[in-house]
């Protein structure tokens, strides 16, 4: 028995924002243009992205609103009735509310009656964890259908006022500014069913390996700027003190990022050793690498391992749609299906090497297409 992806959808808020316009939206920190921006954008290769906030920093779409848009697009595409839906499985790095779970908020936006819900919490790989839960539910015949949605609204964390409240110059280091030039907003969705349709994707398997036991935190919100301070954001007397200490800034420990690349390749090689993955015979690779810089590294390591896949089989829309965290792999798959020609039996590998604390997730799909 297998589960099938029978529809996909995506939603990107507002117009595409190019590199020269980023600071018009996110704002100048202390009225000064960033010195790091060019360097980081050159390395990640991103040309355009979307933001759910406007130049006045008003939120135009909540995270749950974007998620619902993507979900509606996905269901409408195949005319799937909401009343038939058995499950809603949602992923995000940060919902609009701390409590309750993201899936509750998205369910309300979608006006879905009586569904089983699941909220997958994490960073980029939470997307595939949400798919896996939905897939397993279908495989166990608990439900016949599940809507999976991954959505991110990172831009609210990047307002200049956030950095200024954290003491800007004093606290703003490379690691705190890095993600300002990497992440943006968007949502993606997929419908999973127990029966195949004329054109769909069979989910062959989903596997993941987490290495939080061996490596420190790489991407975080909640840790103060001062490394020796072991308090987390809620340990401060009040939130304004936490913010002053930089504990509400989003950070990436860039020195650790190379581990995400290595472990991403490591997981693929392990799946090969176990006979689960036959990498050279994959027809399409959709890899959520966060930066063009890392693509080269992944290619090089796979070549050394004798498991390289020709460049033309790799697909990404990172450079045009931006890095939307957990939503990226969904948005990528949706656009891939819309724009690329695929044929019955093609194998698609989705890879999400996550840098949060090094969880690496993989999903293999087979194209099912009636002639």
């Amino acid at each position: 028995m297998k589960a099938y992806i029978t529809s996909t959808g995506s939603y990107l808020p507002g117009p595409a924002v190019n590199n020269d316009e980023i600071e018009d939206v996110l704002g100048l920190i202390n009225d000064r243009p960033s010195k790091l921006k060019k360097r980081i954008l050159k390395a990640n290769g991103i040309k355009t992205r979307h933001y759910a906030i406007d130049k006045e920093h008003k939120t135009l779409f909540n995270n749950s609103t974007m998620a619902a848009h993507a979900g509606n697009i996905c269901l409408d595409k195949v005319g799937f009735s909401k009343t038939r839906l058995g499950m809603l499985s949602c992923a995000t790095t940060q919902g609009d509310l701390v409590i309750p779970g993201f899936a509750s908020m998205v369910q309300a936006e979608l006006e879905l009656p009586d569904v089983e819900i699941h909220s997958s919490h994490g960073v980029c790989s939470s997307s595939l964890m949400a798919v896996k839960t939905a897939m397993n539910n279908v495989l166990l015949q608990e439900q016949d259908s599940a809507l999976v949605i991954a959505s991110e609204l990172a831009s609210r964390l990047f307002k200049n006022t956030r950095y200024e409240a954290a003491g800007a110059d004093a606290n703003l280091d490379f690691n705190a500014e890095f993600l300002r030039w990497m992440l943006s907003d968007g949502a993606g969705a997929m419908l999973i069913q127990s029966q195949p349709t004329k054109h769909c994707l069979q989910i062959d398997w989903i596997k993941s390996f987490s290495h939080a036991d061996t490596l420190p935190v790489c991407m975080s919100v909640g840790m103060p700027s001062e490394k020796s301070d072991t308090r987390t954001w809620q340990d401060f007397p009040n939130y304004s003190e936490a913010e002053k200490a930089g504990a509400i800034l989003i950070r990436q420990d860039v020195r650790l990022l190379e581990h995400a690349v290595k472990l991403g390749v490591d997981g693929a090689l392990r799946l090969m050793e176990k006979g689960i993955l036959d990498l050279p015979n994959i027809d399409h690779v959709l890899c959520h690498y966060s930066s063009h810089h890392f693509k080269e590294k992944i290619f090089q390591m796979l070549e050394t391992a004798g498991a390289s896949i020709p460049e033309e089989r790799w697909y990404t829309n990172l450079y045009e749609r931006g890095n939307t965290g957990c939503a990226s792999i969904f948005i990528m798959l949706d656009e891939f299906l819309k724009t690329k020609s695929i044929k019955n039996g093609d194998k698609i590998l989705c890879m999400v090497p996550e840098s949060g604390r090094f969880n690496n997730a993989y999903m293999q799909l087979t194209v099912v297409s009636e002639q």
């Binding site: 020195r255 050394t304 498991a307």
Partner: protein
């Protein structure tokens, strides 16, 4: 972003050697994760590495380097005439490294340690286990599995030494002094790794060869981690 994920260009051709290299890569990744759990490495990664740590690390590494040169030359001598080409490579390699412990002694004195202290320091239990194992394996006829040990030990130089040297220098304010041993290895082990790739092609003739080589790498990695774990017992109370 440092470049320690860079691996030399592939030179392996045969399918068996390629399989061996793939398995050695996953063995290496696992070894690296094991190292991240070792207390002294954890301190280095979290920015709390002390001068006592570095002195203790150098004392242990000195034993490792002295013994390394011995098992490498023993390995060379155990290759029979039908593998004289492999022997030639291993001889050349061991000749280049057999006096490297002197660099370590220089580093130890540079950071304020007394030469006599490092000279007198005995092997810790992990070092004993590691080198007893490797001396035995290298004494067997045509010990091609020793390339597994070389993969781990040279890999440390090639992939980790530069990163460790920078971290140690930063955390102990050494301005790049007193880390000459690690710097030297990060600069030279890349060519040694390149050589290793070529040797894999030569020595991997059967599945059994690949299994033996990978097994040696796995055991070397585990015992190497044990050697570093044991450093905790050398630190002042």
């Amino acid at each position: 972003m440092n470049s320690s994920v860079d691996l030399p260009k592939k030179t392996v051709i045969s399918e068996l050697a390629q399989e061996c290299l793939r398995r050695l890569m996953t063995t290496w990744f696992e070894f690296e994760r094991d190292l991240n759990k070792v207390p002294i490495v954890k301190r280095l990664n979290s920015g709390t590495f002390s001068k006592d740590d570095y002195e203790a690390l150098l004392k242990t590494l000195r034993q490792q380097v002295i013994e390394g040169a011995r098992w490498m030359t023993r390995t060379a001598s155990s290759f029979e005439s039908n593998m004289v080409d492999v022997r030639a490579h291993v001889i050349k390699h061991s000749k280049e490294e057999h006096q490297d412990f002197k660099l370590l002694e220089k580093d130890y004195c540079m950071i304020g340690g007394k030469l006599d202290d490092i000279l007198k320091h005995p092997k810790n239990p992990g070092s004993e286990a590691l080198h007893s194992y490797l001396m035995y394996q290298s004494s067997l006829p045509n010990p091609i599995n020793m390339l597994g040990a070389m993969w781990i030990v040279e890999g440390l130089g090639e992939k980790m030494a530069a990163d460790w040297a920078d971290k140690i220098s930063d955390q102990l304010n050494l301005n790049g002094k007193g880390v000459s041993f690690m710097k030297y290895h990060s600069a030279h082990d890349e060519e040694h790794m390149q050589l290793l790739y070529q040797l894999l092609d030569r020595v991997c003739q059967t599945e059994g060869d690949v299994d033996a080589l990978v097994k040696n790498a796995v055991i070397t990695g585990k015992l190497y981690a044990m050697q570093l774990n044991e450093i905790e017992h050398d630190l002042p109370k």
